[in-house]
Amino acid sequence: MAKLRQTPSQTVGPYFAYGLAPEQYGYQQNLTSIAGSQMADSETEGEHIRVEGRVFDGAGNPISDALIEIWQADAMGRYSHPADPRGSNSTFKGFGRCGTGTDPQNRFWFDTVKPGQVDAEQAPHLNVIVSMRGMLLHAFTRIYFPGEPANASDKVLNAVPAERRGTLISTRQSNNLYRFDIHMQGDNETVFFDA
């Protein structure tokens, strides 16, 4: 039985940029960013990809003050974290952060490597946190890749009603460019998880 109650969440609000993504928004003279869109460099092993998309509200308008955070395994499916017994030996950290307020089309984007399979029950995926003004607590989702044979047996995808599963799978725009739009509401509402 827990003794203390969890501190409640509150919204990230409209002004997170200089606190959480200072370099992206031009405040780097005061504070460096711990993470940004550039998750991989030329030394990083794996298939280099860009994942980009927009976030839409219930009226279908793109949101200009959302914050998207990505947590992912390296190309071998290993997390850079002590709980992963395999221990990543690459310099790839696996965390990215991008606000939707600096691109003229309000896109977020991540330059990264395609993650490997973490375990036999899961297809390659990116773990996502969505925060914005108007959300009192963040939402969890995942980005999967199209045409992956492992998608069919992925235990998380299989726990999602079949008619909504497609909202978690990105589309391939060109060789290394994947698109993943997030719909907060509506018929095509992205699947969000109770993680």
């Binding site: 003794k3 203390l4 109650r5 969890q6 501190t7 409640p8 969440s9 509150q10 919204t11 990230v12 609000g13 002004y15 997170f16 940029a17 200089y18 606190g19 959480l20 928004y25 405040y27 005061n30 504070l31 711990i34 509200d57 219930g58 009226a59 949101i63 003050d65 955070e69 947590w71 395994a73 997390y79 709980a83 950290k93 696996g94 965390f95 973490v118 375990d119 029950e121 995926h125 773990n127 925060s131 108007g134 959300m135 009192l136 607590l137 963040h138 939402a139 969890f140 235990k155 998380v156 726990a159 909504r164 907060m184 509401q185 509402e189 699947v191 969000f192 998880f193 109770d194 993680a195």
Partner: protein, 233 residues
């Protein structure tokens, strides 16, 4: 060890849709959340330790200086980051951001007619010590108007962002000040269930107060705990 993190305490969290906070009805998810089994993807998370903090990152009265000290009432905000069992969460990153003493954010979309302080930036970070302790020096943020409803004002607050030990322990919240009359009028604060609302309010503390220098406020933060069971128990 096999580990799993406790679920979000839904009875103590604000709802996604809180109609009095008017940007929630078009932005919060409306369909039921799908339960996610905790895999290695959820049991791991970004690790940011002491190497992510430099110089005056935790002293907001210094990290934005150009030609003098920032204006406002100097305060110390300190506390401990704990899990639900009261165990300290060491070596985890806290990021904060706030308005200046006049209630103005440096962010270029903040158009509130209050002065920018050339010597105050408003963003900072620090890492918890072995005992979960953290400490910031800053100035007390001012209240400011927002367009939610007629004559709406946000209470004085500081935004906090934390990671904790895994992807699912991430927390973004706001710290408020005791005795603020705007709290009872604020739809963001009031969207939090009554039972946990007070957990968002710092306590004034004379022990933490530095004589002739700065008032002290204590703000402890509780992240989701875990139920670790040794494999060979």
């Amino acid at each position: 060890m096999t580990e799993s993190f406790n679920a979000r305490d839904w009875s103590g969290q604000p709802a996604y849709i809180a109609p009095d906070y008017k940007s929630t009805p078009l932005r919060g998810p409306t369909k039921p959340l799908i339960p996610l089994p905790q895999t290695l993807s959820e049991l791991t998370g970004p690790v940011y330790g002491q190497e992510s903090v430099t110089g005056d990152d935790a002293d907001l009265t210094r990290n934005g200086r150009r030609n003098g000290e920032p204006l406002g009432e100097r305060i110390i905000v300190a506390g401990r980051v704990l899990d639900e069992d009261g165990r300290p969460v060491p070596n985890t990153l806290l990021e904060i951001w706030q308005a200046n003493a006049a209630g103005r954010y440096i962010h270029n979309t903040d158009q509130h007619d209050a002065p920018i302080d050339p010597n105050f930036f408003g963003g900072g970070r620090c890492v918890t010590d072995f005992d979960g302790g953290y400490r910031f020096m800053t100035v007390k943020p001012g209240a400011y108007p927002w367009p939610n409803h007629h004559n709406a004002w946000r209470p004085n607050h500081i935004h906090f962002s934390l990671f904790g030990p895994s992807f699912v322990t991430r927390l973004v919240t706001q710290m408020y000040f005791p005795g603020d009359p705007l709290l009872d009028l604020d739809p963001i604060f009031l969207a939090t269930p009554g039972a946990t609302r007070d957990l968002l309010i710092a306590r004034f503390n004379l022990e933490l107060t530095e004589p002739n220098y700065a008032l002290g406020y204590v703000f402890d933060i509780v992240l989701r705990g875990n139920s670790a069971t040794p494999m060979e128990a």
